[in-house]
Symmetry: C2
Amino acid sequence: MPCSSSNLGGKLLPAVTFELLKESTESKARLGKLHTPHGTVDTPVFMPVGTQATVKAMSPRELEEIGARIILSNTYHLYLRPGHTLIQEAGGLHKFMAWSGPILTDSGGFQVFSLGDLRKITEEGVEFRSHIDGSKHLFTPEKVMEIEMALGPDIAMVFDECVSYPTTYEYAKEAMERTTRWAERCLKAHHKEDQALFAIVQGSSFRELREKSARDLVSLDFPGYAVGGLSVGEPKPLMYEVLDYTVPLLPLHKPRYLMGVGSPDCVIEGVLRGIDMFDCVLPTRIARNGTVFTKLGKLVIRNAKYKNDFTPLDHHCDCYTCRTFTRAYIRHLFNVNEILGLRLTTIHNLHFLLELMRNIRKAIAADSLSEFREEFYRYYEPEQFGQNKN
Amino acid sequence: MPCSSSNLGGKLLPAVTFELLKESTESKARLGKLHTPHGTVDTPVFMPVGTQATVKAMSPRELEEIGARIILSNTYHLYLRPGHTLIQEAGGLHKFMAWSGPILTDSGGFQVFSLGDLRKITEEGVEFRSHIDGSKHLFTPEKVMEIEMALGPDIAMVFDECVSYPTTYEYAKEAMERTTRWAERCLKAHHKEDQALFAIVQGSSFRELREKSARDLVSLDFPGYAVGGLSVGEPKPLMYEVLDYTVPLLPLHKPRYLMGVGSPDCVIEGVLRGIDMFDCVLPTRIARNGTVFTKLGKLVIRNAKYKNDFTPLDHHCDCYTCRTFTRAYIRHLFNVNEILGLRLTTIHNLHFLLELMRNIRKAIAADSLSEFREEFYRYYEPEQFGQNKN
């Protein structure tokens, strides 16, 4: 995994480069390789979320075992605890959390805007109170760049303004335009050669705004682009519509990241619309409540019918959990509040998502993604899973 | 690990046999091998506690990795949830919890007597109310044998009456005599060839009672003996005194188990007095509160002085935690209530105890246990750790 691509044959390359391997003939899906200072990632990829410098309930070696290649961590949380300067002192986030693969950090935008009454937005930035101790803080584009450079992930995200759904055209326009101005300020403030800075397209569900956002940001020539402000309350078909007209405006040879989205159905739909990267707390969050993905649909392990079911969670799965333990045992662990229970469901759910990505990549390679999608929907209702942000 | 010794060369052997390898010349310490249907265990041994069919926060493969060879589970808890019949239906406790090594179950005696007002003792047995839902239950020696045979561990314990400290001579005598009568009833009710039944010596801190208990139980010819009713509130020197006069009355060629005791100092003192087996929730319980053993003494990871301490928990340790993570990181995990934090301290503390046992065995082999003890007490105050039962 530790294979830096930042200096090849004496020529200085960008921190992160994207290699487009294949474009599907039947959809906008594509196969690629994301080269980062901490190794190469096959895309489309799902990034497990390690909010507080740990993917909840998982160890780094368990993440490696299930095939996680890149993880996401949250600037807002790390800034508050333990603080970005401490992580810098530790030698950066990779070293601090003992994860040797690539890391992407979000910008804290989503989190501070979610604070509602606890934050105030100005052109300068966002003043907010900590959800932990009420202390006052100011996030500006410059401050967020300082934090992300200190954390040291391979990919940093610009500080954006994420609006919830529904919203007015006027407010969505204002936030989108500010996001572009902030992206410029981030670009100016960012100076870390082994770290790539990705921009975030906003504009809510207004086509005109999304298109303007995409065009303006693309003209600033970022090494990667995210579609933000989705999965914030809008119906899924509307999210897909936004992707339909937004993604084609993004550069073909740069990675495209759909932020905060990661239910199995949304991942498939996102890939079909040309998305390369996903992240979501859904698989880990529902795992801790005892809900798991299986090939044959969702399974709620506390259900009484699994009391003496001595078969694995998912008969089609070869993760440690499914190779080793039964539904009856995992149900018992949840009933008596044992930590091993949520460890096992977390391993399984992340493995499920990562295996889904592996199969999606195979299907793109074999030009069979639409058959794959059809097979998937035999067992999954599009509305079976909601969305979950951090 | 799966090496049954119950049928060797056509001759039916007892389920569990003890091979005495060496007696120390300078103390009563000894080296042995405990052969069980699920493998052989080097003694003296520490057994991690898996109260509810899981060693809290650990997976079976993590237990194997740190060198755990035999674990303990609790009859009282398993009887209540998920129920012994369910575990029997699963194919027994080993299969249910995916642990392929030896298992010992206690008898629930300690737990039901700890229920205080919730239980009533008669000659027949103990009527008690569940600490979970208040439902009424009766544990008799026969019932407990039925449960332990259903659970299917390699070693089952007799149903005993454990009195707290201090107590009167009269009550200690009554309880000890009942324990002997119950041991006889257990022996009659027990009929599982691949499971050994160990007796439990009681008698509080009264020498006469301990001696009578030991003699009466030894005459019943159990394959192994435990010293029970210690670490129930008495000062440590008194516990050692009881061991001093009790252990020599137990058969030389049978395993001796000190129940519920497992702080590092008590383990060393127990071994010096001829004990072969220990169990205790102390290492796992204090780990979940962020307290760890190190070679240089106890360490409380939440302490502010570890905020930017980028060294391992214990510089002398080679467990996964110490090989991979820093004090600063583990402190952060505890501060933000992340599960990985207590996973890492649990791994470390159990590894510490198991490594202590490995070093104790080496010291016995080298006839240097008293030097080993001296070195140990350079860093450990005898009263630094209390005792913890289940």
